[in-house]
């Protein structure tokens, strides 16, 4: 019995959500009295791999094969399942990232394992039971899922488990995985990544705006506020539908569900479908000129007033706050 965590890299680097996944997997390994192995696929430098030791990985299987240069769902799932079998893993952990969502179900089928997607807390282990909490009904509820297969796959929601530094060292071992040509039929044609921007699912702070902003030309102040905070930007559905902002920024029931530490909503009414994707944010700030806007019911802090007056003032206040702190 052991625990395996898949550590996805973005251009050779691990993101915060991966250190969360490793910390989480280490805690499960401790619960089960076993050790944690990580599997990395792609070209990641030794010192970057070494960082994983600090979060509890005792061993790293390093898969660096030409055929696996770019992410192909089918092939990566095979490699991770092979690594799980090699170390006789009883639990496999992944981040519930966009790639993780595509991998975890394939790995679960390969291993004949039970799967909890989007886990938000450590498993409860009682009388041989293995129960994991996840969000359901688009964040309007939580479900406790019992896995009763011998093997388990868990994908962890970003921002839902604290990073824990364990101060250990990891032994790095090269692992030559079997790559079936039939797993590699999909071809990557193009990748466009905005490297200067904080990505939404990982962001700790998010500044979001809605139809109350009247038009795309008014987003400069939203971006300025976000830049000052080091926050990602988001928007409501009508805003992306109108092409004021890209679809990738749309949060809510039919957009991305997020749980940042701070969510600032400007000129967004707080319709139930919008709240579904953001209500698990730790702190919510609402700026809206309508005191009856439903968003105020779930907000921690609110300002009733015109965004065009408040946001520029807030930007000035933040600038002086930053200068003094």
């Amino acid at each position: 019995m052991s625990v395996l965590v898949y550590v996805e890299n973005a251009e050779g680097k691990f993101k915060k959500s991966i250190f969360e996944a490793v910390s989480y997997a280490k805690a499960i390994a401790d619960q089960l009295n076993t050790s944690l192995t990580a599997v990395s696929i792609g070209n990641v430098a030794q010192d970057e791999l070494q960082k994983l030791g600090n979060y509890g990985a005792a061993k790293i299987l390093n898969v660096n094969q030409d055929a696996l240069k770019s992410f192909i769902n089918q092939a990566y799932a095979s490699v991770i399942a092979e690594a799980a079998e090699k170390i006789a893993a009883s639990v496999v952990v992944l981040s519930n990232s966009f790639s993780g969502k595509g991998l975890a179900p394939r790995i679960a089928v390969k291993l004949n394992a039970g799967l909890v997607d989007g886990a938000i807390s450590l498993p409860e282990l009682n009388d041989g039971k293995f129960i994991v909490k996840k969000t359901a009904f688009s964040n309007k509820a939580f479900a406790y899922v019992e896995l009763h297969a011998d093997k388990k796959v868990i994908s962890l929601t970003p921002n839902s488990y604290k990073i824990v530094e364990a101060g250990g060292q990891a032994a790095i071992e090269d692992f030559a995985a079997t790559v079936k040509p039939t797993d590699l039929t999909a071809l990557i044609k193009d990748i466009v990544r905005a490297t200067d921007k904080v990505s939404l699912p990982d962001a700790e702070l998010v500044v979001s705006a809605g139809r109350g902003l009247k038009g795309p030309e008014n987003w400069a102040m939203v971006e300025e506020l976000a830049n000052l905070l080091g926050a990602a930007t988001a928007c409501s559905k009508p805003v992306s539908d109108a092409d004021w902002r890209p679809h990738s920024e749309h949060v809510g029931q039919t957009g991305i569900a997020i749980s940042p530490n701070l969510y600032i909503a400007i000129g967004i009414s707080g319709a139930i479908q919008h709240l579904a994707g953001v209500s698990s944010s730790k702190v919510i700030v609402v700026i809206n000129k309508d005191p009856e806007a439903p968003f105020f019911k779930v907000a921690d802090y609110g300002i009733v007033g015109d965004a065009f007056e408040i946001v520029p003032k807030l930007i000035e206040e933040l600038k002086s706050f930053k200068a003094n702190n």
Binding site: R106, F137, S138, A149, I188
Partner: protein, 245 residues
Amino acid sequence: MKILVCISNVPDTTTKITFSDNDTQFNQNGVQFILNPYDEIALARAIELTDNGAGTVTVIHVGDASAEPTIRKALAIGAHDAVRVNAVPTDAFFVATQIAAYAKDQNFDLILAGRESIDYNGAKVPAMLAEILDIPSVSIIKKLNIEGNMGVVEREIEGGKEVLAIPFPFVAGTAEGVAEWKIPNMRGIMSARTKPLQVLEPIEVQTSSKIVKFETPAPRGQVTLIDAAEPQKLVDLLHAEAKVI
């Protein structure tokens, strides 16, 4: 082009979620069920791709007869025929296995599903189905086109996008952007009544997960209102009280 679209029947987006039987069951009393919004755009794209006789669209649902209005809606929107596997699903693996059992010798070029259902939010069925059928899958796609014998999809990645070309057959989970929702017209609604709806009995599946309890989030505290003339108070509170900046 022969396309299969997997559809689920979910509580309407405005539904207030409550539970019964000691918080072990979703309380369906008074709940309006709808076609899962993501599945609806998968269906819309499938219909666009097969327009003017360029192919056929079959929809499949795993569930009991209570979902028939949702299936008829899919037919009204433009699907050619429908299949219902007559079983109350126990988990995503159960659903994926039933769909795979039907699809395996039907020679679909393309299988589409919504990227996730808005009830259990698993995003599991499309990738599980592909794995069972041993064909490629891609999750969360925002665009889907056909170029020769390949599908060209745009996949969402953190902070960007990736374009992939995938040989048929494959499974894709569709997200917003792939198509606009289609509203059924009168002709569609009339013809939906007579389109074929095949009911199949399920195959046996050993499931590996079970929901044992539900919970609703704790109510959030009262909002602290800050005067619009004093935004520095907000900065102070976010720093000193909430400790988020």
